[in-house]
Subunit: 208 residues, 2 copies
DNA sequence: GCATGTGAAAATCTTCACAGCA
DNA sequence: TGCTGTGAAGATTTTCACATGC
């Protein structure tokens, strides 16, 4: 299976596997079978084996399972998480602040290295070793080797923020603004709309 | 197509359509074609027409398009957003606070009607008309007609929080904790792991 | 002409089932 | 025996293409 195109869905699941593996590792486990990992994550075991098989030999041992540390390393390599990634945050409102404080990015090797806002009240303030800069400074990102960004600006500023980021050489954007943003093909955007995810819960709930 | 099972993917897109339609409505538009809406959202036009067709007649007019207000009403009805939904928030940390302050829930008819935490320092404090309660009060949710919940507690408290919510009659959970939670089939869980979404960006970026 | 609504085809993704190995 | 790795089958989702209606 080594030479095929990797399904997007497989890529989407790799961080889930990684999370489960780190958890099991913390529990002191050395090895894990696809069935164990599946149970831990609510995923079908064949799915896991199939996903792994796209990348060639994941070093699973029949009768035993996979070595957890090895697996984590392989996944890191595939996801290109084996170097520290510097990311910028644009829009230091409530959500932006929560994200700056969020401890979860570290375990993926992310370093939120800069924060930007448009409000003079916020510019210059210091949060967690980061001084909030004016958005006009976005153009310095390239020089600073920052090529990932998180957008937490209001909806109507989302597209222009994305445009500025693209101009500054950013290649990946995590967008929390509830608006579709258009970028060149070479830039990857992942949009998270918190309210939208909540919005489909009622559909699945019978009665009222 | 009226009597078929609706694809999950279609349900996932309905809130996206709704968002685009509200935006176009704000711009003063009355009608929209599948092609216009598609352009606005980055989705294929046939996809939109197919999605709509699952629900029977969406009242589109050949040569003209769809009436925006009518469409929004239909989507609201399908997603069961035509009544105000009361939701509880559990875990008033940074992310929880940001979500309490997030203005985006209102446009879907959500009312975050209660907040809970385990820390005595936070219990009793008031945020936006909501007094933070002790998690032991979760069992009152049924009486208070709250059947949706947002979990923003640390990873290791996620499962026990979910258990308490299920016991309290909650039927839908939006989970921000980076951990899989197991619930009975009648309860729907949607998990958002912010860091995990960021984690797959580097994969799509060539070079370093 | 322009746009909907939808069968049918194509693409994608998931699950099965089993050969092969420790 | 227990588990991996994977072709093949099955299920789901997307896209095409066009008949039909304004």
């Amino acid at each position: 299976m080594r030479y095929h195109k990797i399904p997007d869905e497989t890529i989407r699941r790799l961080p889930i596997y990684r999370r489960g593996l780190l958890f099991l590792s913390e529990q002191g486990q050395q090895n894990v079978s696809s069935r164990n990992l599946a149970g831990c994550l609510g995923i079908n075991p064949s799915q896991i084996r199939k996903d792994f098989s796209y990348f060639g030999d994941f070093g699973g041992t029949p009768g035993v399972g996979y070595n957890i540390q090895k697996l984590i390393k392989q996944i890191n390599k595939i996801l290109k998480l084996n170097v520290v990634r510097r990311a910028a945050l644009v829009g230091v409102g409530n959500l932006g602040l929560a994200i700056l404080a969020y401890p979860g990015f570290g375990i993926y090797g992310f370093d939120i290295a800069a924060a930007f806002d448009i409000s003079p009240k916020k510019i210059g303030r210091k949060m967690k070793n980061i001084t909030i800069e004016d958005v006009s400074n976005l153009r310095t990102l390239k020089k600073r080797k920052i090529n990932l960004a998180i957008i937490t600006v209001p909806r109507d500023a989302a597209q222009q923020t994305a445009d500025a980021l693209v101009k500054a050489g950013v290649r990946g954007i995590l967008n929390f603004s509830p608006h579709h943003i258009t970028v060149p093909k070479k830039v990857k955007v992942i949009t998270i709309d918190i309210a939208m995810d909540l919005a489909r819960l009622p559909y699945y709930i019978p009665a009222g």
